[in-house]
């Protein structure tokens, strides 16, 4: 007798467990759908905020001067914030342009970015992940980035082989955190490390080069090493407070004059390009979120199927309920509530999973997803709606069943 009771208990527990398992499978589609919608939007939003955070970091009054080929291109490539859009560059600015820009009215600081190629070696270690940039003393203030150890290049360094390196270079090339005074060879010349930058914030998925991999040398040294073939991709300019627009136009007219009336360059105000990149990102986010939303729909169909099976399995129960006086509407609402609870629970689990994934991504990657509450609320609403819509088919089927037929089925 005792073992019989235990057997019954076991059977009961396993039936509850199997119901739970089935509930889980029912919810899975919704869980995946909600999670993916929330995460896609969160990642998109995170990248957006990181980019605009960087712009903010660099100062909104930053002006970027670039070769003309970039001028007519679309948002992604004219991304004003992206300091070295290596992929898109096909022209260059001359040393003379650098001077013209720096002398324009209202310019408080300016620095060229000139990329020089070649292998970097130090005591047998070859460093190929990095790149060498010729620039001037204003760069740290333009980037709002300070030097952690040592000092940046100054006026006095013009023509001398000194370098300031990013943190990754310090670690990978010299294998120490503060390689002050150590040297490396580049293009057959020996350079002495004079300073190490603080860590640059990086923006995932952006085309901006990681300055933690960069070695900065005086611009004229870079030009002379490359025999004036190293292209200046960009000149960063800081204007007097609140005069960004005027300064940008005065730079434009000064350059136009020195280029003999030709406008083979572009002058972009710092935060203008951001708008277009935001648009693209928004569009992409919406597109992917839309695809994820379709998975919600698939989740809904999943709910419908599992509920249909469940209705068929529980026909006898429906018969009993009807026999004791349940009306069609009461049976309908019972199954509707079940479907709604299942999909809503799926939604809540999806939201919880999103927060967990958010945390994991923040801990393990450069991504900093930002979960937005409107999206969470919308996702919840949609999962509720999915439950109601797709739950209604099986619920109606259950409600309309003839009581005696339902009782007869086992």
């Amino acid at each position: 007798m005792k073992s019989l009771t235990r057997g019954h208990l076991k059977a009961g527990v396993s039936s509850v467990r199997s119901a739970k398992l089935r509930s889980f499978w029912t919810m899975l589609g919704i869980i995946i759908g909600v999670t993916s919608v929330i995460m896609v939007v969160a990642i998109g939003e995170g990248i957006k905020q990181q980019i605009s955070g960087q712009i903010h970091h660099m100062g909104k009054d930053l002006i970027t001067v670039r070769p003309a080929q970039l001028h007519g291109s679309t948002g992604l490539s004219s991304n004003g914030a992206n300091l070295l859009s290596g992929l898109n560059i096909s022209g260059s600015l001359s040393e003379k342009d650098v001077t013209t820009v720096s002398r324009s009215k209202g310019v408080t600081a300016s620095a060229p970015l000139t990329i020089t190629t070649g292998s970097i070696k130090s005591e047998g270690v070859t460093y190929d992940k990095g790149f060498v940039i010729g620039t001037s003393e204003d760069l740290p203030s333009l980037l709002n980035q300070s030097v952690e150890f040592g000092a940046f290049i100054t006026y006095n360094d013009v023509g001398s082989n000194v370098a300031v390196v990013g943190q990754k270079v310090a670690r990978d090339l010299f294998n120490e955190d503060v390689p002050l005074g150590r040297s490396f060879t580049f293009q057959g010349q020996k350079f002495i490390v004079r300073g190490i930058f603080n860590k640059f914030n990086t923006t995932p998925l952006s085309e901006q080069a990681d300055f933690n991999n960069a070695i900065f040398i005086p611009n004229d040294v870079a030009e002379s090493i490359s025999k004036n073939t190293a292209p200046t991709y960009e000149i960063l300019v800081k204007a007097n407070d609140g005069q960004t627009a005027q300064v940008a136009s005065s730079i434009e007219s000064a350059l136009k004059k020195s280029h003999g009336g030709q406008t083979n360059f572009s002058v972009v105000e710092g935060n203008k390009g951001v708008g277009s990149s935001d648009d693209i990102l928004n569009l992409l986010t919406r597109l992917i979120a839309g695809v994820a939303a379709i998975s919600l729909l698939v989740g809904g169909i999943g709910i419908m199927n599992v509920m249909l099976v469940s209705v068929a399995e529980r026909m006898h129960e429906i018969g009993i309920r009807k026999a004791v006086g349940a009306t069609n509407r009461q049976i309908l609402s019972q199954f509707m509530i079940e479907a709604t609870v299942l999909s809503l629970a799926g939604g809540v689990i999806g939201i919880a999973l999103s927060f967990f994934l958010n945390l994991m991504l923040r801990l393990t990657t450069d991504l900093k997803p930002v979960i937005s509450w409107p999206v969470v609320i919308i996702a919840t609403g949609v999962s509720l709606l999915v439950g109601i819509i797709f739950g209604s088919v099986p619920a109606l089927k259950a409600a309309r069943k003839d009581p005696i037929e339902a009782l007869r089925s086992e």
Partner: protein, 294 residues
């Protein structure tokens, strides 16, 4: 004023060549307060009759009035409400919901009446007390014995104070001890003024009833109320002359009863009287008990 009035009620199943006539122009009137036993061989339409009377099924033809209200062609929802408020069902296989406790099962009809959780659990608990298994409130049906499960089912049927209780072979799955318990319970309920209809294969149990109705092939072939006298007594003699201990014997009893009844084929009559000619001691006791009751 009759509680139940069936007029020429027929029920057909299937169509074409496969048509079964489960009820064949049945006329039946049951007054309030009657305790009616329905007997008959398997497949004669007893369950169909119960389902029609219980508004679980609709008759194909004929009229049915319950408390002077025509109910043969009700909409499903109205039928459900009448089932909820005036009819209590007891099934052979208990039909308790396996995932609900005894208490929750008993409270189920009240749920559909819209009572608050507290009220319905309180009432359900009272009902379980009344049927004597309050100590099993939180047991699942699978943890109850057959008798206890049927008691819970009876409590469920009673919880809404229905005028009419319909029990389709309530003792069919029970041993004789539990059967007796269940029948005593039904008799008790009957004493409180309920009208009860029950189907049984066990002729012994008809002693609880105030009236016995015999069915065959979808028709009522004998109704004590309308034919009083010799045939009924003969029939009973036939019944109780067989010692009944198990289901097979029950069935044998029924078939011998059927043979004893005035039938369409005169051949049977002869054989039936043979059976009736060998009365056993026991039947006297039973009849005595019955006459004391009435």
């Amino acid at each position: 004023m009759a509680l139940i009035e069936l007029k020429d009620v027929s029920k057909l199943y299937g169509f074409g060549d496969a048509t079964t006539l489960a009820l064949d122009e049945v006329n039946l009137t049951i007054e309030k307060g009657e305790f009616v036993a329905v007997m008959g061989p398997s497949g004669c339409g007893k369950s169909t009759l119960m389902n029609v009377i219980g508004l679980l099924d609709r008759p194909s033809h004929g009229t049915y009035s319950l408390s002077d209200k025509a109910v043969a062609r009700l909409r499903p929802n109205n039928a459900a409400k009448i089932r909820r408020d005036t009819i209590g069902f007891i099934f052979q296989s208990f039909n308790l919901l396996p995932r609900l406790t005894a208490l929750e099962n008993v409270a189920l009809p009240l749920t559909y009446k819209g009572l608050s959780v507290q009220k319905r659990l309180k009432r359900a608990s009272q009902m379980l007390d009344r049927v004597g298994i309050q100590s099993r409130e939180y047991f699942l049906p699978s943890q109850l014995s057959g008798g206890q499960a049927q008691c819970a089912a009876i409590a469920r049927a009673l919880v809404n104070n229905p005028k009419l209780i319909i029990a389709d072979e309530p003792t069919g799955n029970l041993d004789s001890e539990s059967s007796r318990l269940v029948m005593e319970l039904l008799a008790d309920i009957h004493k409180m003024g309920n009208t009860i209809l029950f189907v049984t294969h066990n002729p012994e149990l008809t002693r609880y009833a105030t009236r016995v109705v015999y069915m065959h092939d979808g028709s009522i072939i004998h109704d004590e109320k309308t034919t009083i006298g010799r045939v009924a007594i003969t029939a009973r003699r036939a019944l109780y002359s067989q010692p009944q201990t198990n289901e097979e014997d029950d069935l044998a009893g029924v078939s011998s009863l059927m043979k004893a009844l005035p039938s369409k084929t005169p051949k049977r009559k002869k054989r039936a009287s043979k059976v009736a000619a060998k009365p056993v001691k026991r039947h006297k006791k039973v009849i005595a008990a019955r006459s004391k009751k009435s």
